[in-house]
Amino acid sequence: MAAKKHDFIDQKLQDLNNDGIDRRGFLKCMAWAGTGLVWTMSGGVPTSRAFAKTADRSAGKGADFSFVQISDSHIGFSKPANPDVTATLQTAINKINAMPHKPDFVIHTGDLSQLSKPSEFDTLDQVLKGASAKQIFFVPGEHDMLSDNGEQYLARYGKGTKGTGWSSFDHKGVHFVGLVNVANLKAGGMGSLGHEQLEWLEDDLKGRSASTPIVLFAHIPLWTIYPDWGWGTDDSEQALSYVKRFGSVTVLNGHIHQIMQKVEGKVSFHTAMSTAFPQPAPGTAPSAGPMKVPAEQLQRVLGITDVNYVVSGRSLAVVDSPLDGSSSAASGDAAPQVLMESEVG
């Protein structure tokens, strides 16, 4: 059983090495409207499965807690790619509410609104009020910064945050850090964290035990996916250097409106689908804008992400996952490491 799993993992990692997730193959197995990715960390090894397929599984069994990531709701957008983004956001919330294991909280990785308008934030708040998870954490997207450096956004969602809206919190032994990489963007550049935030981050992580699982979340991907379209963060290297020493790091991003995943050592990167509209795969269209799909397919390319954490004290099946797909021997250390497994079918 274990061997089979590992073969599968290697195979999937090969796919990742070549061109990221094969969207068609992945999506073929999505039965569902608003498909999501379920991540289960069993013994520190996260496993992602097609959400629809695991609705009835004990995906949450043994998990200390779970949370859900949603992203890019773009409330206010109303064009052919999706004339009713409020409805699809509602579908996503309904999905969260129907989950057999209740998430402790929700993280929204930005582009809450389309134009940073008060009415758009109001509508979003109305929909989110109906979520079973009462705690929601936010980071802004570039669409939320359109009015005076995010004044509207910060007034509503900036409580307890610093600077342009960054903050950290702890939950059941896991340390969460919300970063803002959509402010003070420089001409010709991509996402940017900035000096002040990086200094804060370094300080925030100082002194924490390396066995503390870390979750970083930010709007624009913290790794370089496609520079031509600005899909990356100019100064993320420095941020990632601060988390290098930790045994388990998970990076959750949005912005690109499709799932992309990468594992580099102990750091697992993941971008979420949007709840509003999909965008083309890198380089497959003249630009990164909203992509129209046949109406009956729309819900298949939108989604949520479920993350389940199990922090167990016993020895873990720790698997290093270098990019060439080879796996290393298990370590006896308690520090959980991160491996991503995508099970399709």
Binding site: H143, L185, P227, G230, A288, G289
Partner: protein, 118 residues
């Protein structure tokens, strides 16, 4: 008709004709100059087109967003800054000083352009 009267009668039309001729001749005015050289920049597919425009001092450049995503037009030197422009919205700026003005979209900073004012 008396001779003097005839001359006077002939003089008037000639004078009138001369005045009319002078009035009708084309002259280069400031407004003619500007309307012939204002420039348009189209924002589409996450890019400014044309990426570089050259205009004379006093010209007005108008950006129109044809994309289905909002954009902004922001000078890198703080000279001009548009509000966010959604689809079909415009932004205009009149350049009163010569120079090269680099700008970008502050929402999608990979989008850059230049206005050269001569």
């Amino acid at each position: 008709m008396k001779k003097t009267n005839l001359i006077a009668c002939m003089a008037a039309p000639i004078m009138i004709a001369a005045v009319l001729l002078l009035a009708g001749s084309p002259s280069v005015t400031a407004s003619d100059q500007a309307s012939a050289t204002n420039a348009e920049v189209k924002i589409d597919n996450f890019s400014f087109g044309p990426q570089t425009v050259t205009v004379p001092v006093g010209a007005t450049v108008t950006w129109t967003n044809l994309d289905d995503i909002p954009h902004t037009v922001v000078s890198t030197d703080g000279v001009f800054k548009s509000k966010v422009r959604d689809t079909d919205e415009k932004f205009s700026y009149t350049f009163t000083k010569a120079g090269t003005y680099s700008y970008f979209c502050s929402v999608h900073p990979k989008m850059t352009g230049q206005v050269v004012v001569k």
